[in-house]
């Protein structure tokens, strides 16, 4: 079977989880014998993706692309130019070599997906990793992007949503019939986690505090309003009132950083909160190993792959009820992102109960690895087949 997959990034040139998910999904499909053309909006080497045909639809270098993607909420100009070239490229590609199925990831490629469907008449699957409602954490996202999402969802023959939460947003906000949407959770590829020797020296000072009995609570994320971090900091302050031996690692960078710094000072816990700035590689992996508790505090998180990475590193997880990854894990604590009392309770609970902490850690560690991309590929394949052969799902 010949699959046209429309994506926006692939490792090592990814700025977030979208590239990782696309990569593993494509890899698992390829392992199942699917012949894949994967289109990207930039031009770069992808040495680990030689098992499929990776197409560069523009000659933009990855770094520029990452910047224009990050900037899209402010100004869509540059991004629209890249998208226009991407669409032209895809139209030509499907004319030369028609696919059996088109699989388009997120609004960034939805227009290209619609165009490809128009040219080739192949069925279109739109895969939603995040909606504009998630990215803006409000009902006031970019109206142009809302339009594109709406059209893409309407035109699609089938929609994959990355979680039940995302599915319900698509139904409620865009009025798409629920039975057109399939929940396809992300998975985790344990072998892709670089085997790494944890280096206690990276965060030596915090490790020192840990040796003295401090609980290390971490968030590893972009510091944006979508991530619910002001609630997290308030909960941290409340928890600290009741249990002093806790430190909070806020790893990552983003436009909310200054606000969070000022807030932690205002709440009198600045000394307990550690801001790493933007980190990757070893510092990133070591941050997981350092953590006793990983919190995903998102206001709206379609999935949240980093939680599975945290589980892999033997960490207890607290996941907001608004984060999709919580749907596939049971050995975790959950709270509504705004419920700082509840989060504070959970933090103090873990800090004061070694039994709770270890059962959470062990429980989720045994559970996360069962989520396999192979299963995701099987589900995709069965939907591809149904679409190709006209059998209603």
């Amino acid at each position: 079977m010949k699959l046209l997959m429309l994506g926006w990034e692939l490792p090592p040139h990814n700025s977030g989880g979208l590239g990782v998910a696309c990569y593993h999904m494509a890899k698992a499909l390829s392992d199942n014998g699917v012949d894949i053309d994967f289109v990207l909006p930039y031009s770069a080497e992808h040495p680990a993706s030689e098992w499929m045909r990776v197409h560069a639809s523009t000659d933009v270098r990855p770094r520029q692309r990452a910047e224009s993607t990050l900037a899209y909420t402010a100004s869509v100009g540059e991004l629209r130019k890249i998208q226009a070239q991407y669409i032209d490229y895809v139209a030509q590609l499907v004319e030369d070599s028609p696919p059996d199925v088109i699989h388009a990831h997120d609004w960034l490629t939805m227009e290209a997906g619609m165009r490809a469907k128009e040219v080739s008449d192949a069925p279109l699957i739109v895969h939603v990793h995040a909606t504009e409602f998630d990215r803006s954490a409000s009902d006031n996202g970019n109206p142009l992007i809302h339009d594109i999402e709406y059209n893409g969802l309407m035109m699609a023959d089938r929609i994959f949503a990355v979680s039940g939460i995302t599915k319900s947003i698509i139904v409620q906000k865009y009025g798409i019939p629920a039975d057109k949407i399939e929940v396809v959770h992300n998975a985790v590829d344990v072998s892709s986690f670089v085997e790494h020797e944890y280096d206690r020296a990276t965060y030596r000072y915090i490790e020192h505090l840990r040796d003295e009995g401090h609980l290390v609570v971490s968030v590893l994320t972009r510091l944006t309003v979508q991530k619910g971090l002001t609630h997290f900091v308030r909960a941290a302050a409340r928890a600290s009132e009741r249990y002093d031996r806790m430190v909070f690692l806020i790893a990552g960078d983003g436009e909310q950083r200054d606000e969070l710094i000022a807030l932690s000072a205002e709440l009198g816990i600045a000394d307990k909160v550690y801001f790493t700035g933007f980190i990757r590689g070893k510092q990133w992996r070591d941050a997981y190993s350092l953590s006793d508790v990983f919190v995903m505090s998102s206001v709206s998180e379609p999935f949240g792959l980093t939680a599975l990475e945290a589980a892999h590193h033997d960490t207890a997880l607290i996941i907001s009820k608004q984060s999709g990854v919580g749907e596939v894990l049971s050995h975790i604590l959950r709270y509504d992102y705004w419920d700082i009392d509840r989060l504070a309770d959970q933090l103090v609970g873990i800090a004061t109960s070694p039994a709770l902490q270890s059962s959470l850690r062990i429980g989720v560690h045994n559970e996360y690895a069962r989520l396999s991309w192979h299963d995701v590929a099987q589900r995709c394949l069965s939907h591809y087949d149904n679409l190709r052969h006209g059998v209603p799902a």
């Binding site: 000072y205 205002e266 000394d271």
Partner: protein
């Protein structure tokens, strides 16, 4: 009757903290060691200001001392400035020593570290003042008789401390809401003091030079010696005995660049002023003894020489600044007990008020001044680097305790 100008210049450079991250804490203890040529690089900054301000202004002051027997000047020189000058520009110290040897240059006492310790720890404040006295004695063979607190941060308590410590003179801002109908151009008695006398900055005439001199948008631009002399005459009208001009030494050549004409303006003004028989210059202690106090002044609330508010909000206005100072001084006893001179010195360098000044978030006109002086991208960055350094101090203390040095 003799009419005197009290020119007092403040010389200071902080040890700026480098971009000191979470990953440096507990690894590197070199908080002040940026060597990237940026405005965090203490040596680069010092050498730049030395060439633009310290050397040319010292030259001019020496010339004026030589040329005019009545010319006098008072200087406050922080210990942290002296450390940097000794390392990178010892010639400037030699020049200052020559000037002090004329007997017409008074050195004013203050905290060695240019800190706000007075508001956090009386013990540490007293120690830092003593350290400064010791250093001034070593370098200049001189025992100061006048006191100024960091940023001219003054209140009645401070004056009473200075009185008890035997200072003849103390300096403060001549701020209208405090003075009400009174003029800054007289000697005053600080409330509750027996011997210490109070000199108040004439901020209008001081700031004409320090802040406005080179500003082309200023209605009085350009300011020349004649015009300034007229304003000075006006200030002395009604038998006022003195005018106190207090400003940063770096006004000359750094805040106001040479091309504004600041040096030749000053040279001409001094000559112009001293051309009249009854005119002179005072050092601060001479000024305070030149006439009897005309009344007592009380400042129960702290007044500084900064910003339009003249309070401490540029240093202690937001919660980051309060947190930084709170955590710094929380370590005081442990740091002192360690007996580790390097550690004590580093901790004290972090007490320098500039560090919290760089965390200021007042984005008014004053905020522009703050941004101009800040070596960091933002106040938030400044705060993080400071806190990371402070944690490292704590780490070093823990190493001491566990004996694992």
């Amino acid at each position: 009757m003799t009419r005197g100008i009290t020119l007092y210049l403040h010389i200071h450079q902080p040890w700026r903290v480098r971009q000191y991250s979470v990953f440096d804490t507990a690894h590197q203890h070199d908080y002040f060691a940026a060597s990237d040529g940026t405005n965090r690089d203490n040596r680069a900054v010092f050498e730049k200001v030395a060439d633009k301000s310290y050397r040319p202004m010292n030259d001019l002051l020496e010339t004026l001392l030589e040329r005019h027997p009545d010319f006098k000047v008072s200087l406050s020189i922080t210990g942290v400035w002296l450390e940097q000058a000794e390392a990178w520009a010892p010639d400037i110290i030699a020049q200052l020593q020559r000037m002090v040897a004329t007997g017409r240059v008074e050195i004013v006492a203050e905290t060695y570290y240019h800190s706000l310790a007075f508001f956090y720890s009386q013990d540490e404040f007293t120690r830092q003042v003593q350290l400064h006295r010791d250093r001034i004695q070593e370098l200049f063979g001189y025992q100061p008789t006048a006191f100024r607190n960091t940023e001219l941060a003054y209140n009645d308590q401070l004056a009473q401390w200075a009185d008890a410590a035997g200072y003849q003179t103390i300096l403060a801002e001549g701020w209208d809401p405090v003075l009400e109908w009174r003029s800054p151009n007289y000697v005053y008695q600080p409330a509750g003091c027996d011997t210490t006398r109070l000199l108040l900055k004439n901020y209008r005439l001081s700031d004409d030079v320090a802040f406005r001199f080179g500003n082309r948008a200023w209605a009085e631009y350009p300011l020349d010696a004649d015009k300034y002399n007229q304003w000075m005459e006006a200030a002395f009208a009604g038998d006022a005995p003195l005018v106190n001009l207090f400003m940063d030494y770096e006004t000359f050549g750094e805040h106001q660049w040479e091309d504004t004409g600041i040096f030749s303006f000053f040279e001409h003004f001094v000559a112009r002023w001293l051309a009249s028989e009854e005119n002179t210059f005072y050092t601060v202690t001479q000024a305070a003894q030149s006439s009897e106090p005309v009344g007592a002044i009380s400042m129960p609330h702290t007044v500084t020489w900064a910003d339009t508010e003249r309070d401490l909000t540029a240093w202690l206005g937001n919660s980051m600044q309060h947190e930084a100072m709170r955590h710094l001084f929380a370590l005081e006893d442990d740091v002192m007990r360690s007996g580790d001179l390097q550690l004590i010195g580093d901790w004290r360098r972090l007490s320098t008020s500039d560090h919290v000044y760089f965390m200021c978030t007042k984005w008014s006109n004053d905020g522009d001044v703050h941004a101009y002086f800040s070596p960091y991208d933002s106040p938030y960055d400044g705060f993080l680097y400071f806190m990371n350094a402070l944690r490292d101090i704590r780490y070093r203390l823990m190493q001491h305790r566990s004996g694992g040095w």
